[in-house]
Symmetry: C2
Subunit: 143 residues, 2 copies
Amino acid sequence: MPTQTAAQRRAQARDAYDAFLAECPSRQLLDRISDKWVALILAALGRDGPDRNAEPRVMRYSELSRRLAGVSQKMLAQTLRSLERDGLVTRTVTPSVPVTVTYGLTDLGQSLHQLMYGMKLWAEAHMDEVHANRERYDAAADR
Amino acid sequence: MPTQTAAQRRAQARDAYDAFLAECPSRQLLDRISDKWVALILAALGRDGPDRNAEPRVMRYSELSRRLAGVSQKMLAQTLRSLERDGLVTRTVTPSVPVTVTYGLTDLGQSLHQLMYGMKLWAEAHMDEVHANRERYDAAADR
DNA sequence: CGGAATCCTAACCGATACTG
DNA sequence: CAGTATCGGTTAGGATTCCG
């Protein structure tokens, strides 16, 4: 039995780090995940539902590339590398001809997926409201 | 009585917009809020607790500037403008000498605050794990 | 105090070409 | 198919100065 539960470790980490401080490592991590491609990749991968026993979703490179319309090869590859390095996504190479590469989420990545998918839903749900606010703001500026 | 409930309108918006499409307005909105300064500002403002009746938190410009260590005047002012335009934050000018300006969240901003504050907590809670993953990844690359 | 305006450079990022 | 490498344009964003 561990001396600390997972919840206790998280609570301690919250005390130890403060993302409001520029030098804090967690600030750099927050900067890193506050990225549109990170948000879209993590939103695209992973299970959306609450079913913890569902098969993890895996996607091929080309599949991701198609799903995330407008992403360049470079940004997709680069962002995937960084997410793999951080332990958020898994990269699986199947040595067929031609080679097949699939990406999926680790448990850590899945925990962030919830938030990212939430952001995507928020953007879609409040688009109209934001658009109306912008028009009102711009109209007021003209006068 | 409205012909649609708020929940129904949100559900319709989810169907109408898809942030995975490059041309979709919600994609631009997602890009906009996937920004480190947006995340930090929205995390700093707003009520953290579940108490809906608590006083909304307001902060002065200089107060925000100090809280968000490392932010330049330009980025802070620029990001606040854009958030005000989108209807996420309120800007209140008190014409004293010298002038006092306070920022707060609108209801719309408060709804996004939850997600942003969650991201900040996530970064702080999982910093150690991510750091360990990076070391493992880099060590493996050396061989 | 709370900015706006200007200048300037570091980085991001897309397009293209090439590789296993 | 799934990338890496290189180049060049755009832009983010910091430093500085000035203003109501």
